[in-house]
């Protein structure tokens, strides 16, 4: 087996263990709810028999271990139960709302990598100079506010004060939304060949995605800077300099590559933070993602929906981290060419 495949197998098995743990944890949290979920779901006007019926249907009278077993066997069949809030299968609800959230997070991720890493490189190359200081203060500012603060400030500046971006929503009301195929609006526009709708949707996503990515940009810039400065102090860089290689080439080929690896690991973790923070940004920009649903089901103590939503978000996060790990394994020659991976 090649080392990369071995690494993948190891990571996958750990992820499965972790995901089982996550499901137990969330299940336990959801079942310590004070009050009767069946009563809450049916409202104060329901009769006692109706409540008993629903408790029976949800297996609420069994022990928590039996309830968990029911949950796992349903989940294995792709069934997360019925949401008491929307009265639809939780899977259907999530399938409807998740793509918009993921789209936002992916665009924000692109911003994070596209702005954060170059800023970090620039900062490291001009260490101690004015450029470096400005970038350092700005990236620290980026990290220092929750994304809803950035969302509100950016909205005030670039949607109200200077109206260059739309205030809210995913696409203008005047346009016909292309048929839903993947659920990712930008993709759907392209698949339908509707470039006007695509441009409009892209215009709508810029502000929320940027607000969501600001803390990630700051984090990525800070890390890239720190890692590159560490690399810059290594003897082989000095050797490259004494050979008279141009600074540009030293930065790109010799200093940047090794420092990319630790940065990528943290970028994977930041992605998790963005999945959570998307809730905040979506609330500000009325983005039709998981946020509204998630907050509503939590406020209504909708057990199935809470468990399902958290589980799907965590699974997404684990998948992203496996991808990041593989990317690192692919970039890092010490893993790519290793005859045997670490025990």
């Amino acid at each position: 087996m090649s080392p990369v495949v071995q690494l993948l197998a190891k990571r996958l098995s750990i992820s499965v263990i972790v995901l089982i743990g996550v499901s137990m944890l969330i299940f336990a949290i959801a079942r310590i709810i004070p009050g009767d979920p069946a009563r809450i779901a049916l409202g104060p006007n329901a009769t006692a028999e109706q409540v008993v019926q629903l408790r029976d249907k949800l297996h609420l009278d069994d022990s928590i271990i039996v309830q968990y077993a029911y949950f796992v066997s349903d989940f294995a069949r792709g069934d997360l139960g019925i949401s008491l809030y929307t009265n639809r299968p939780v899977m259907t609800d999530i399938a409807q709302f998740l793509p918009a959230t993921l789209e936002l997070v992916f665009v924000a991720g692109l911003f994070m990598i596209g702005f954060g890493i170059p800023l970090g490189i620039l900062s490291a190359r001009h260490r101690g100079k004015a450029v470096d200081n400005v970038i350092r203060v700005l990236s620290l500012l980026g990290v220092s506010a929750p994304s809803f603060v950035w969302a509100v400030i950016l909205m005030l500046l670039f949607a109200f004060f200077l109206p260059i971006f739309p205030i809210a929503g995913q696409i203008s009301d005047t346009l016909t939304v292309p048929p839903r195929m993947t659920g990712f609006l930008l993709f759907d526009c392209l698949l339908a060949g509707d470039l006007r709708a695509f441009a409009d949707a892209a215009h709508h996503i810029v502000l929320p995605a940027f607000a969501l990515s600001l803390s990630g940009i700051g984090q990525a810039a800070r890390l890239t800077r720190a890692n590159m400065i560490e690399t810059y102090d290594k003897p082989y860089i000095e050797m490259a300099r004494s050979y008279g290689f141009p600074e540009q080439r030293i930065a790109r080929r010799y200093a940047f590559r090794p420092s990319l690896i630790p940065s990528l690991t943290i970028i994977g973790l930041d992605f998790a933070a963005m999945l959570g923070n998307a809730f905040l940004v979506e609330a500000v920009y009325a983005w039709p993602g998981l946020s509204r649903y998630g907050v509503q089901v939590i406020l209504r103590k909708d057990l199935n929906a809470i468990v399902g939503t958290v589980l799907v978000i965590s699974a997404t996060f684990l998948v992203v981290n496996i991808i990041v790990d593989l990317l690192i394994a692919f970039i890092n020659p010490r893993i790519r060419y290793a005859e045997r991976s670490r025990p």
Partner: protein, 277 residues
């Protein structure tokens, strides 16, 4: 200590950080004396003076029921800081103990404890706190509980990494040879070497706890009215943009200033104490 202080004071950014943190802490402690309208921390209504832009004596304007925004922000700082201190006071000992045990004892203890930590770390922080908060009643105590559940794993990770590298050091081996107990080695030999990284992280985290707590209340899952809270102030004011801009802008800046201050200070400490993450 004096050397540490003099290095801190020689860097302008650290001085700004110290000043910001000092101001925030000072105004939280002495809110009763600084706030022009101390009674506005609670459920007071003054409809003759509601939703007013900044003017004297309401320098940050008034909210939708006529309360002085500046006074409410000062009291919100007090509650946020208290929450931050309590969360860290619980999360740090738990996390550090888990990390020390897993790192030093190794074997199945390591496997079980660190996988448990992984489980907590695989749920996006805000989502975990949200679900804990959702099943409990939204009170200040439960808010602390919710944030603590997501916070300890980071200290477990940190302590684990330091312990793993320290337990290879000569002084640990020496202590083992003279027959020191495992508890002694963990808490008396290894722990002191974790302190610089832990202190640095705690300074940074005081800011981040404020950030997460305000995010929870922004979503309506945190401290409930009439308790003043920066997150819920922003959420409330968001519906009145852009006309009543002061309702959102001042609480937003208040969060930014506090977290920025703790970040600057934490960064400076990291450089002085030489503690890497």
């Amino acid at each position: 200590m004096r050397r540490t202080l003099s290095i801190l004071l020689s860097n302008p950014l650290s001085v700004i950080g110290l000043l910001l943190v000092g101001t925030v802490v000072f105004s939280a402690i002495f809110a009763d004396f600084i706030a022009p309208f101390p009674s506005h921390r609670g459920a007071v209504v003054d409809f003759s003076n509601f939703n007013q832009p900044p003017h004297w004596p309401n320098i940050f304007g008034t909210d939708l029921v006529g309360r002085d925004l500046f006074s409410r922000i000062l009291y919100a700082y007090r509650i946020s800081l208290m929450l931050g201190v309590v969360v860290l006071a619980i999360a740090v000992p738990i996390g550090v103990t888990v990390g020390l045990a897993a790192g030093y004892l190794g074997g199945w203890v390591d496997f079980v404890l660190m996988r448990l930590t992984d489980v907590f770390l695989s749920i996006p922080p805000l989502v975990l706190a949200m679900s804990v908060m959702g099943v409990l009643e939204p009170t200040l105590t439960n808010g602390m509980l919710a944030v603590t559940t997501m916070w300890w794993p980071w200290y477990a990770r940190l302590a684990y990494n330091v312990t793993r590298s320290e337990s290879q050091e000569g002084y640990v081996l020496a202590a083992e040879i003279i027959g020191a107990s495992r508890l002694h080695i963990m808490f008396r030999e290894i722990l002191p070497n974790c302190v610089p990284s832990i202190v640095t992280k705690m300074t940074l985290d005081l800011g981040f706890v404020i950030l997460i707590a305000s995010s929870l209340s922004f979503l309506g899952l945190g401290v409930q009215a009439p308790t003043p809270d920066l997150g819920s102030m922003v959420a409330e004011g968001g519906n009145y943009l852009p006309d009543s801009w002061w309702l959102t802008v001042f609480p937003s800046l208040a969060i930014l200033i506090a977290v920025f201050g703790f970040n600057l200070l934490g960064d400076a400490l990291r450089q002085v104490l030489g503690a890497d993450q």
